[in-house]
């Protein structure tokens, strides 16, 4: 079933943006407001995040578990439901056929851009496949309305596309439970890319794949991206995937974007102590050295630490860190970080790595 793999072209130089960014997220705040046992609770999952994604680039997002990556992505995709809501800020797309401000669109306008302009692969989305419907129905429901071909041509298009993610077209006849975790994950990737959207958002799309299939799927993602000049926002905890696939990388911690730069720069010279730790904790085949996770527990987003949210766990924390939240500042060209110490002296951070 596995066909030969095309190598992924290296993502070395950051492509200079020819036009305005495809996506502009500006000072975005989005919170979950819930009531628990009669007590109001506000989870500030996305807290003042600004970022831009250019046309024709793959932007990676990594960071702590529960730091708000999926929440950020939901707000970008316009896929939010109460109790989650946008409190402040904006999400604007500059599509080929015009600008869209996600939070000024009507529900009809929003669903019109789904799949064709913007597609969103949700985390754990294998479970959104309807368990009692065959896979072919999922394609008919989601993709058929957005492509120009119909009938047998549509089936051929889908079958050809399934082969690109190393799936036998026979899966179209299967029910979701008859497929392995990795097969279901590839079905959802195929669903999200079959309409050739301008902007692809993928939340942990390859966690269930073996490394051979994963490599094939990643090279397909890059191929589609380059063919169409589209942009991809790719969330994963797999740092090796970021290193090999993404052009730029953002790191989140406790609801905030804490570092962003060219992927290579972030790996070679992390400017935020959290990033430095993340990179140094990666195990490697052949490396026997013990690796440690961060001490202390992840912060609660309902009651985040004062000042810099990383300060209770940061080996470099100084006085001001307890009081003042650091802002994202461009410290090196194209490389931003929110850290008081790095802003004063970027060489200090390497020490913890």
């Amino acid at each position: 079933m596995i066909t030969e793999l095309r190598p992924i072209p290296p993502s070395v130089e950051l492509k200079a943006p020819q036009t305005a960014p495809l996506l502009t997220v500006d000072r975005l705040k989005a919170y979950y407001k819930t009531q628990l046992f009669g007590v109001d609770r506000e989870v500030r999952a996305v807290d003042d995040v600004s970022l831009k994604i250019n046309r024709n680039e793959i932007y990676g997002l990594a960071g702590e578990s529960s730091s708000g990556k999926s929440s950020l992505i939901k707000t970008i995709a316009g896929a939010i439901r109460p109790p989650f809501r946008v409190v402040e800020g904006s999400v604007r797309f500059n599509f080929k056929d015009g600008e869209r401000d996600i939070y000024k669109l009507s529900p009809q306008e929003l669903s019109a851009i789904r799949w064709s302009h913007l597609s969103y692969i949700m985390q754990g989305s294998m479970s959104v496949l309807n368990p009692v419907r065959r896979i072919k129905h999922a394609f008919a429901d989601f993709a058929l309305p957005h492509v120009s071909v119909k009938g047998a041509d549509f089936t051929r298009l889908v079958e050809r596309h399934l082969k690109r993610v190393h799936l036998d077209p026979a899966v179209l006849q299967a029910y979701p439970h008859e497929l392995s975790g990795g097969m279901r994950q590839r079905v959802t990737i195929a669903l999200a890319t079959v309409c050739s959207p301008e902007f692809i958002i993928a939340d942990e799309p390859t966690t269930a794949l073996d490394v051979i299939v994963q490599k094939g799927v990643l090279s397909m993602v890059r191929e589609i991206q380059q063919e169409l000049g589209s942009s991809v926002l790719f969330v994963t905890h797999d740092m090796a995937v970021h290193a090999n696939l993404t052009d730029r990388l953002g790191i989140m911690y406790a609801g905030r974007l804490v570092e962003e730069g060219r992927t290579r720069d972030v790996f070679k010279k992390p400017l935020h102590p959290y990033t430095a730790h993340l990179i140094s904790s990666l195990p490697r085949i052949g490396d026997e050295a013990p690796k440690k996770g961060l001490e202390g527990s992840p912060p609660s987003l309902a009651d985040p630490p004062s000042g810099c949210r990383f300060h209770p766990r940061c080996p470099l924390a100084i006085d001001i860190c307890h009081r003042e939240a650091p802002q994202m500042v461009e410290i090196l060209p194209g490389h931003r970080a929110a850290c008081h110490v790095a802003q004063a002296d970027p060489t200090r951070v390497e020490a913890v790595a």
């Binding site: 596995i2 793999l5 190598p7 290296p10 979950y32 819930t34 628990l36 046992f37 990594a62 702590e64 578990s65 529960s66 999926s70 985390q123 754990g124 294998m126 479970s127 065959r134 026979a170 006849q173 299967a174 029910y175 008859e178 392995s180 975790g181 990795g182 097969m183 966690t207 269930a208 794949l209 073996d210 490394v211 051979i212 299939v213 994963q214 490599k215 090279s219 905890h237 797999d238 740092m239 090796a240 995937v241 290193a243 090999n244 290579r264 730790h277 993340l278 990179i279 904790s281 990666l282 195990p283 490697r284 085949i285 052949g286 690796k291 440690k292 996770g293 961060l294 527990s297 609660s300």
Partner: protein, 282 residues
């Protein structure tokens, strides 16, 4: 001689179900055998192709799926004889599972803390709700969570990694002797991943828990495993000491797998994806 902790003997699973499968009989697990010794706790890792039968094999070890042929013994007892409610409960307190994809593993309409409370009530001495809550909190703290944080929440109100950690905590509540962990760290960050992996190590070394670790992550497999098998199309194609196998795989599929591993170190060479065998550091 006392019996092994686990014996998997010539196990096969053939699916002959409707739809896709009706036309082609699917031999999901094909003549798989291995044993885990009772007196030598270990991390036994299963890696392999997507769809090669790893989860199916795990299901049979957990006695939730019956082998088509062959047999599985837990502490010398054929799982086919573990039938009565009492036997099943006893078996479950010894053998715990962490399922692949936490989004599938939890009922969306059930609060996640309930899973921990019922595990505590079924498998520990806890008689009161307070005791059960205490056991639950203990287990949660081992994976960087706490009861306060997750109390009253439904699965959709939690992040992927939080859910995955609740699944791990639930498996820890009963103090099992065997944990079958299907992709337990795929959705958590690299730092917490090491916390959990080190926790597995500690369970093995200090409490004598054996762990069957199913993963696609060869780097953590290298870090933590004692022995390892590689599966393809339902069969074990290679197995042995984990570090030896990963450092110098012999079977063509294992070699291909090893070559496909993406690494941070060679990401920015001129041709990071050239399909050459990366130099193995030993």
């Amino acid at each position: 001689m006392s019996p092994n902790l686990l014996d998997v003997e010539n196990v096969n699973k053939i699916f002959t179900m409707g739809g896709l499968i009706s036309r082609t009989v699917n031999h999901a697990v094909n003549d798989v055998s291995f044993s885990l010794a009772a007196d030598k706790p270990e991390v036994f890792t299963i890696i392999g192709e997507s769809g090669s039968g790893k989860t199916t094999l795990a299901g049979m070890i957990l006695n939730s799926l019956a082998p088509t042929s062959g047999r599985i013994l837990f502490q010398g007892r054929d799982l086919r004889d573990v039938r009565s409610r009492r036997d099943r409960l006893a078996f479950m307190s010894h053998v715990q599972a962490i399922f692949q994809n936490p989004f599938d593993a939890f009922n969306p309409l059930k609060r996640v803390d309930r899973y921990l409370f019922s595990a505590a009530q079924r498998f520990t001495e806890s008689r009161t709700t307070e005791e059960a809550a205490e056991r639950a909190d203990e287990a949660l703290r081992k994976v960087g969570l706490s009861l306060i944080e997750i109390r009253g929440r439904y699965p959709h109100e939690m992040s992927g990694g939080q859910l995955q950690r609740v699944a791990i905590a639930r498996a820890l509540v009963s103090n099992p002797s065997l944990i079958v962990a299907d992709e337990p760290v795929s959705m958590i960050d690299a730092s917490l991943r090491m916390t959990v992996i080190n926790l597995f190590k500690k369970l093995r070394d200090e409490i004598g828990v054996s762990i069957i670790y199913i993963t696609h992550d060869l780097a953590t497999a290298y870090y933590i495993s004692d022995r390892l098998i590689i599966m393809q199309k339902g069969k074990i194609v290679e197995g042995g000491d984990a570090r030896t196998v990963l450092a110098a795989p012999q079977h063509p599929y294992s070699i291909k797998l090893r070559q496909a591993v993406l690494s941070v170190d060679n990401a920015w060479r001129d041709e990071p994806f050239a399909d050459t065998i990366p130099a193995v550091v030993t």
